[in-house]
């Protein structure tokens, strides 16, 4: 069965691309053995984490065209769920990560039901509001989240009696999560569900008239994307060993958004490039750290002005019929 699926995937990707994908995977696998500098390795873990998070946003923004600009909320919910569960119960970290993903996904369902029936702008604004509300709730609900003090002492994850505490361990952990995410997303995008998502992005009315239950597919899409944001958050909780509301400010949302847009919406490779470039660049020019968010803002403006589909973009923006009608 597994071999069958694998064969299918390989035949679907063209040979040339496959070469690069294998090369990239090999380089990424060797990296932690070659690099000895712990700081560089730490940045490598963060880079993969941001690639995971921006890829999860890309599922929503890039494939279905729903502008979720409060993605940080689901990342925060994932991180806090993991921190709360793992400090109170003795559960395996894999289970905790899964639960965190589902909890984030559940919140997105509650947010999606009232907003996804309406046109995209309401959804965009509500997600922005939701991100702020999530942060405020974290700060105020002291009995659960310890408010401004954050939750320290997230236990070190263990598997088969091995304690996963070094940067190398976390590197492989996030590498596997990212690999699973991309593989799964690739399979979904090339299925009936993925085609429904893309058709909604291209023209929602046309897609509905072809018999696609657009509301259902939008909800599915949102839940899938936010599941991975929750997983990313749970990983962050383990990696940092500490969660606090300061890590989940709105700027973080805009950072994911910039990564997706700069890399290219609606392709799997786009957020990988965008996430990597926009995580590594600010580290290289660390003296410009204060200007980080300015760079993100300018990057978004420049991309939209000169290459709206992003560096590796796979979609074109066009005005659809329903838009020109009422203007």
């Amino acid at each position: 069965m597994a071999a069958n699926i694998f064969e299918k995937i390989i035949t679907n990707i063209n040979k040339n691309k496959l070469k690069y994908i294998f090369l990239l995977i090999i380089v990424l696998l060797i990296l932690p053995f070659v690099v000895e500098n712990q700081y560089v390795l730490h940045i490598a873990v963060l880079t993969l984490m941001y690639v995971l998070l921006s890829s999860s946003l890309n599922v929503i923004v890039g494939y279905t065209g729903q502008y979720n600009i409060g993605h940080v909320a689901f990342y925060a919910i994932g991180a806090y769920t993991a921190a709360i569960i793992s400090t109170r119960f003795n559960l395996n970290f894999i289970i905790v990560i899964l639960i965190s993903g589902f909890v984030a996904s559940l919140f997105s369902l509650m947010l999606g039901i009232p907003t996804l029936r309406l046109r995209g702008i309401f959804f965009a604004f509500t997600t922005l509001g939701f991100a702020e509300i999530t942060r405020l709730t974290i700060l105020n609900w002291r009995s659960l989240t310890r408010g401004p003090f954050g939750i320290p002492g997230v236990p070190i994850p263990q598997i088969f009696g091995m304690r996963l505490s070094t940067n190398t361990h976390f590197y492989f952990m996030i590498f596997i999560l990212l690999f699973l995410m991309l593989l799964m997303t690739y399979r979904i995008i090339n299925s009936r569900v993925g085609r429904a998502w893309i058709s909604i992005r291209e023209d929602e009315q046309a897609s509905a008239s072809m018999g696609v239950d657009t509301f259902k597919y939008k909800i599915m899409n949102l839940m899938y994307g936010t599941f991975w944001a929750g997983v990313g958050g749970a990983f962050f909780a383990y990696f940092a060993g500490y969660v606090s509301a300061d890590s989940f400010i709105l700027d973080e949302s805009f950072r994911f958004f910039a990564m997706v847009l700069v890399g290219g919406t609606g392709t799997l490779a786009g957020p990988i490039l965008g996430g990597a470039v926009l995580t590594i660049l600010p580290q290289v020019f660390r003296s410009f750290a204060r200007y980080q968010m300015i760079i993100y803002g300018v990057a978004i403006l420049l991309i939209i002005h000169y290459k709206p589909e992003g560096l590796l973009g796979g979609r074109t923006f066009k005005r659809d019929l329903s838009e020109s009608e009422d203007n």
Partner: protein, 290 residues
């Protein structure tokens, strides 16, 4: 106890006036451009900071400094329109939406670097208070309410009785038809947008003067509140925006009185969700598709 609620109600009306101003500005921008903006709150805060800069750094008289900020933000509005919208008027709407997100990030982080991240205090524009029983009414509160009403009536006159104003209204109804009857679309869009920005900044100055504090980080939250007020009132309706603003201000302060002040900003969000579930066209709006 009753006095406490009464003074919270009065605070709510004051704050509602401010939200009403911002909501009108927002609604004007929506009318002329046909889409929402995510940079509104950040632009408003930037405008207030321009005034603050004149006052605190150049040492101008407080009222003069704030008045000077208004024409400058008007020009700034033209610049924003050029960067975020002009090129994309005939293209997919999402592009404009994204440029406003990008511009908002840029402006907020630039303001943080120029003006600092912390709260800056603006002294009250008008000092003093009246006491009625145990109800304290500050002069600044009365000033805000009166100024808001003056502004609303001036705007009404402008939109109904001047050539430019009628042009803006025509634009918000049908852009192509407005063009056909000789409205200068480009100029009207720029004017309408900048006017919306100036109204917001005026509201922002009132807010800063009422709370004595402004910070670049307030932007997204203010934008969300203006949007909520506009959606509550019905997105294309200016009287709706005013009423939406007042309802939001009053609800917020009553919620603070009943629960705790930590949840102040949650109120706007809850109202937004309820409106979207129950009546997405708002209280006074026509059925509009977005």
């Amino acid at each position: 106890m009753f006095g406490f609620y009464l003074s919270q109600l009065f605070n709510g009306i004051t704050q509602g006036s401010i939200y009403a101003l911002m909501a009108i500005g927002y609604s004007l921008i929506f009318g002329t451009l046909g889409l929402v903006t995510f940079a509104y709150g950040d632009i408003v805060i930037f405008g207030v900071f321009v005034g603050y800069y004149f006052y605190a750094v150049l040492g101008l008289n407080l009222i003069l400094a704030m008045l000077l900020a208004l024409p400058i933000t008007f020009l700034f509005g033209v610049l924003v329109e050029k960067i975020c919208y002009e090129k994309f008027r005939k293209e997919a709407r999402m592009l404009m939406l994204i440029t406003t997100v990008g511009f908002g990030i840029f402006l907020r982080s630039a303001s943080q670097i120029i003006f600092g991240t912390g709260n800056k205090s603006i002294p009250t524009l008008i000092e003093g208070k009246i006491e009625i029983g145990n109800l304290n009414i500050l002069y600044i509160q009365l000033g805000i309410i009166i100024f808001t009403l003056i502004f609303i009536y001036a705007l009404r006159y402008f939109l109904n009785n001047t050539r430019t104003g009628i042009g803006i209204r025509a634009l918000s109804m049908d852009q192509d038809a407005a063009k056909l009857v000789g409205v200068n679309v480009d100029k009207s869009i720029k004017f309408g947008h900048s006017l919306g920005v100036v109204l917001g900044v005026f509201g922002g100055i009132m807010l800063g003067s009422f709370y004595n504090a402004i910070s670049p980080m307030m932007g997204p939250n203010l934008g969300l509140k203006a949007f909520t007020a506009v959606v509550l009132g019905g997105i294309t309706s200016i009287p709706g925006a005013v009423i939406g603003g007042y309802i939001l201000g009053i609800m917020e302060n009553l919620a603070v009185a009943v629960f705790s002040s930590g949840y102040r900003d949650v109120v706007a969000f809850i109202i937004l969700i309820i409106v979207l579930v129950v009546k997405p066209s708002g209280l006074f709006g026509k059925e509009v598709k977005f």
